[in-house]
């Protein structure tokens, strides 16, 4: 077992699935010779050829629409959207089309496509290479939305996504691509869609988070334990939609205190749904209000570093809210 970054794990997941199944193919902008702007698909075109690793025109609706059409005719396409910020032109094909194929045809048609989309704030990315896009897609029955944070999960969930007969939106936080390496199994394995993961056990508070923020939360959780003896239980949904309610509720009921930390603009983000769930289903167990932390309600991350750093909740802000909750 070797250690791998998130980026490597995803790239290998793609390669393995393509080796295992001739119908798996990759399409998107710059995925071919360039190997993707983040190099996730590096080497794939050399191994699998231009037909199975295809550079598309700059047309996101076409990318997803063509993926749908491929899936209809026996293929298992993995479409890459270069940046999540550029997924809106494909919105119609995703929410009105892919997500509806099965239901609207009374189960006759399936749409087994995977759509990979890097999202989240990075330095220098600015307004249009930084957005958290998950809220746009988490009110769409028929679609699955996953957002793994760690390499081994990501690889296993990518395999699950590709093998799933339903359309899966696969979100990758750009800032976690090379953030750390962890051991990733060598053998073929899947991590199921729809199952949350408890990263850290704790009795005092529950923190639900994903993406880059999860790393911050985990770091702060250690610090709180050392400095204040506060033990946070940290839950990563991994799949946002449909959500693993049980795991989240089990933890919230245990600790009686829940906080959701996201990088998205807070108002209208998916944190609201998680909060509503806990506030409703764990009400009798709650010793404190369900708290939330997210980015301010301003368009997105700015280019200039001071503004970017003021946008993404940092460890200090996370710590403050976690402590506030613990002491409530």
């Amino acid at each position: 077992m070797a250690t791998k970054s998130l980026l490597q794990a995803i790239g290998e997941g793609l390669a393995e699935e393509m080796r295992l199944d001739d119908t798996v193919m990759v399409l998107g902008e710059d995925v071919g010779r360039a190997g993707g702007v983040f190099r996730v698909t590096q080497g794939l075109q050399d191994e699998f050829g231009r037909d199975r690793v295809m550079d598309t025109p700059l047309a996101e609706s076409l990318i997803v629409g063509a993926a749908i059409g491929l899936s209809v005719n026996g293929m298992r396409p993995v479409a890459e959207i270069q940046f999540g910020d550029f997924i809106p032109p494909a919105f119609d094909q995703i929410v009105n089309e892919a997500a509806r194929f099965h239901y609207r045809s009374n189960g006759a048609w399936t749409c087994p496509i995977t759509i990979r989309a890097p999202y989240g704030a990075v330095h220098g990315g600015a307004l249009y290479h930084s957005q958290s896009i998950e809220a746009w897609f988490c009110n769409t029955p028929g679609l699955k939305v996953v957002a793994p944070t760690f390499p081994a999960d990501a690889k296993g969930m990518l395999k699950s996504a590709i093998r799933d007969p339903n359309p899966v939106l696969f979100l990758e936080h750009k800032r976690t691509y090379r953030l750390l390496k962890e051991e990733v199994p060598d053998e073929d394995y899947e991590v199921p869609i729809g199952e949350a993961k408890v990263h850290r056990k704790g009795e005092d508070i529950t923190v639900v988070s994903y993406g880059f923020m999860l790393h911050t939360v985990l770091e702060v959780a250690e610090k709180l334990s050392e400095k204040h003896g506060v033990e946070a239980e940290v839950v990563e949904p991994r799949t946002l939609y449909p959500l693993d309610k049980e795991t989240i509720l089990r933890s919230a009921k245990k600790t009686g205190k829940a906080l959701i930390v996201v990088e998205a603009n807070l108002t209208g983000s998916f944190s609201g749904e998680i909060s509503a769930l806990v506030a409703r289903e764990a009400f009798e167990w709650l010793d404190a209000p369900v708290m939330r932390l997210g980015a301010p309600d301003v368009p997105a991350v700015a280019f200039a570093r001071p503004m970017m750093d003021a946008f993404v909740p940092d460890a200090a802000k996370v710590e403050k809210v976690m402590l506030e909750l613990a002491r409530y």
């Binding site: 076409l62 629409g65 491929l70 099965h102 239901y103 189960g107 339903n166």
Partner: protein, 334 residues
């Protein structure tokens, strides 16, 4: 359609008398099924009707060269004649307009005209106009990647070319010489909006800009459409890439049963087009050819009407969906 010319054409096209009669049958069947839907609507049994009337020649002419269950069809909501040709029955259509549980397209979930059949390779259609085009190119790409000779026929009205999806698909099809045929049924209106406020220049001529042929054809002439489509399919099967066909036709009815077209078009205009009715025109031709005389016409019409009446009756008796049907199937199981 001059008989002499037409005869030559018809033989040139390799069509036997039986083919002509089959074409005629499906055109007339579609018309009669469509008319019946309006009656069901007036009777309060069908909440919504959207018609193929006026476009039967364009539809039958095009679909005639498609291999059912092998090639793929991305239809649009007026393509009833194509659907009947591929193998759905009038009963299926009536089940759909009355929102019955057995509706083969959607089990009563979708509006009528949103066709679907997994076994017939009719890809589930929806209401957002134009979304079918990128999908069709993907389906064509799958054939190409696997080295198969399947083709994809994708249809829409002239307004379906105004949205970005049409263009993105045209470009992609052109880049990769995909085996897809774009059939635009230009019926002069998009609900109330006339062609001149919808389309700049010419749809057919646009294909040149993408590096493949674009053909404007008389959409009221089933043989002309057949010819153009057959050539396009052959081209596609030979791996030479896509073709765009713009069939000039006319929407004889209002846009749908929800529309009142007196707001925006003159009765005279409709009457003028009714005189070019593609079915009557083809019948005159068949008559002059001696393939179908007045008696034969009546016979086939009577047969169709009986079939339609019977299917309508039987569909009426079919049960509605259960309320609980609403809950699924949202996701496919693995």
């Amino acid at each position: 359609m001059e008989i002499k010319d037409a005869q030559v054409r018809h033989e040139d096209l390799g069509l036997a008398d039986d083919d002509l009669l089959r074409m005629h049958y499906y055109m007339l069947l579609a018309r009669r099924v469509d008319e019946r839907c309006w009656i069901l609507n007036r009777q309060g049994k069908a909440p919504f009707v959207i018609s193929c009337q006026g476009q039967e020649a364009a539809q039958v002419g095009a679909i005639y060269g498609v291999r059912p269950g092998y090639d793929y069809l991305y239809p649009y909501y007026r393509d009833l004649a194509m659907i009947l040709f591929l193998g759905q029955s009038p009963r299926h259509q009536f089940l759909s307009v009355m929102g019955k549980r057995e509706d083969p397209n959607s089990g009563g979930r979708q509006m009528p005209g949103h066709f679907s059949s997994r076994s017939l390779n009719i890809v589930t259609a929806s209401a957002p106009v134009g979304v079918q085009y990128p999908q069709a190119t993907g389906t064509a790409l799958a054939f190409k990647v696997r080295g198969e000779d399947g083709i994809v026929l994708v249809c829409g009205g002239e307004a379906s070319t105004s949205g970005g999806d049409w263009h993105e698909a045209m470009n992609f099809a052109g880049i990769h010489d995909l085996p897809v045929v774009f059939l635009v049924q230009n019926n002069a209106y998009a609900i109330s909006v006339p062609e001149k406020a919808q389309v700049a220049g010419s749809i057919a001529k646009r294909a040149q800009g993408y590096g493949f042929p674009g053909i404007e054809v008389d959409g009221m002439d089933v043989l002309a459409v057949y010819e153009a489509a057959r050539e396009a399919f052959e081209r596609a099967r030979r791996g030479e890439g896509p073709t765009l066909i713009e069939a000039k036709t006319y929407r004889i009815t209002a846009h749908s049963s929800d529309d009142d077209d007196r707001r925006y078009r003159e009765r005279e205009e409709i009457e003028a087009w009714r005189r070019k009715d593609p079915i009557a025109r083809f019948e005159r031709y068949l008559e002059e050819l001696g393939v179908l005389d007045a008696e034969g016409k009546e016979e086939v019409d009577a047969r169709i009407k009986a079939e339609v009446a019977e299917d309508s009756r039987s569909a009426e008796e079919a049960p509605p969906p259960e309320p609980g049907d609403v809950f699924g199937p949202v996701y496919a199981g693995r």
